[in-house]
Amino acid sequence: MLSRFARCVSGFVGLIFGVVALLGCGGRRTAITLAGSTAFQPFAEKLAEQFMAMHPDISVIVQGGGSAVGIQAALSGTAQIGMADLVTLPPEATALTSLVVARDAIAVVVHPANPIQELTSEQIRDIFSGKIRYWSEVGGPERPITVVSREAGSGTRTSFEAIIGPFALSPVALVQDSNGTIRETVANDPNAVGYLSHGLLNERIKAVGVDGVQCTTENIMSGSYRIVRPIFLLTKGTPGGAVKMFIDYVLSPEGQKLIADSDLIPAKR
């Protein structure tokens, strides 16, 4: 009776020690953490994977959380590198060293069945602020417009509102919490209009032209498409050691090529 009990306990204790030992082993490598922008997160993960293949002694951990979290994490030191996709960095970020590593376009999207092909910046502003409420006002069918936006604090929303012009979001707008759910909502609602990262466009939604410029990779590269935001990597002080190695890799020709291949615009052309 006792011996079985003792065996159970010793097995359990052994298990705990084993887990601790494993975790301890992981800690011997140099680890850097990136946190922040969910728009850049998938690309940062690709970059981290490539970087770790080249430097097996350094492990790079990529976390999401949003641009605001990226700034906070870099300030507090919980992440060595913060990621933010904002047009203008907030005042608290002035204490950080910021570096633009890529640019990302924001596409204005509607349901594929919607006949609208183009909108002007002014129409977009009026639609999202609730001044224009029917598609017929911009040359579409006699149907109400369902505005779909991101939640307050989202980097994509902050950038979109800053570029399209200062406006207060329509109080009746639907709010979705990620680029992916915006895409689903617009794909399912013939009346909807939303905005999302250019890299996430697919055939289930239709990007409309803005001021006569279609949201295509060429137009974004050439700079004629308007709604483009920079993606910042933020560090506390001047980066050094593994952090510098990672940032140098992101800005290197291979890193920038990986960024271009993922439909983002490289910072260095």
Partner: protein, 291 residues
């Protein structure tokens, strides 16, 4: 030899008792920790802004420092009531059917099936809401589809297992002598059900409804997916709404400073509401045991 064995056995018993005690207390301690943590993070904000301003101000615009959760409180209440309107009649009718009109063999198949509904993850309910219910509402009734009505329907289905299983147990625990008495007095089967048995099982059914309310008000994922999340007072059932839980889950990732504290204060409001519901449910159930 025998005495030594007994001592060893006693030591084993004691240590098992201690282990169980520690584990049991740690479960309660975690509840206490959660309460203390939410209060610690949310109370400073509540004291600074004033609970009245927080609860009864109807503009939520954290970017510009407006923190009013009134639309969310109203939305949570309406969504929960809507879910009860959908779930309660079906749930209670189902429970009566299962407990009174179905042979025991069939019941053994149906009841676990209904309880299986409770095991379906809430994202799946949300997904069905977005793909099936929302387009139906949009095409036939108007509005954006993601609405108070859609959320109520989805939550109404989600609470069915809670209502049905607890109500069925309550109805089945009504003594058989009640049924026999009613029938002996010449009541039909339906008369005996709604005049005698439902009255006997009343407090159990009430408890099932209150527990279901707790589940409806606390549900987050499915509601975020189907309710539209507009922080504004709804004017009709076709308007999109944002519940208290959705407000926390949506903005937590982006919130810093005062905004973050405001979300914790939202958590305090939710915590208080759920505590009140649970306390009511417990007292109702206690009364049913006393009877």
């Amino acid at each position: 030899m025998a005495i030594a064995g007994r001592q060893v056995k006693a030591a084993g018993e004691k240590s098992v008792q201690w282990i169980l005690r520690t584990v049991a207390f740690s479960a309660m301690a975690s509840l206490l920790l959660i309460a203390v943590f939410i209060l610690k993070e949310g109370a400073p904000f509540l004291l600074r802004v004033g609970p009245r301003n927080f609860l009864f101000f109807s503009l939520w615009d954290p970017q510009n420092g407006c923190f009013g959760v009134y639309p969310m409180v109203v939305a949570s209440v309406w969504v929960t009531l809507g879910a009860m309107l959908v779930g309660a009649p079906f749930g209670i009718a189902g429970a009566i059917f299962l407990a009174e009109f179905v042979p025991a063999g069939v019941m053994r198949v149906i009841k676990p099936t209904i309880e299986l509904l409770a095991g379906i993850p809430s994202v799946v309910y949300g997904f069905i809401g977005v793909m099936v219910v929302a387009p139906l509402v949009r095409d036939h009734l108007g509005g954006p589809g993601l609405s108070l009505l859609t959320a109520s329907v989805i939550l109404g289905v989600m609470i069915l297992p809670t209502v049905i299983s607890i109500s069925t147990d309550a109805i089945m625990s009504v003594p058989n002598s009640y049924r026999e008495g009613a029938l002996a007095l010449g009541a039909t089967r339906w008369q005996s059900v709604h005049m005698v048995i439902l009255k006997g099982a009343r407090s159990g059914i009430m408890a099932s409804l209150i527990l279901a309310m707790g589940r409806a008000i606390g549900e987050t994922m499915a509601v975020i997916m189907v309710a539209g999340n507009t922080p504004r007072l709804p004017h009709s059932v076709l308007d999109p709404v944002r519940t208290l839980t959705a407000n926390i889950a949506l903005e937590m990732g982006f919130a810093t400073g005062l905004h973050r504290q405001a979300l914790f204060a939202t958590g305090v409001v939710l915590f208080v509401i759920i505590m009140i519901l649970n306390a009511v449910a417990l007292s109702v159930m206690k009364r049913s045991h006393a009877e």
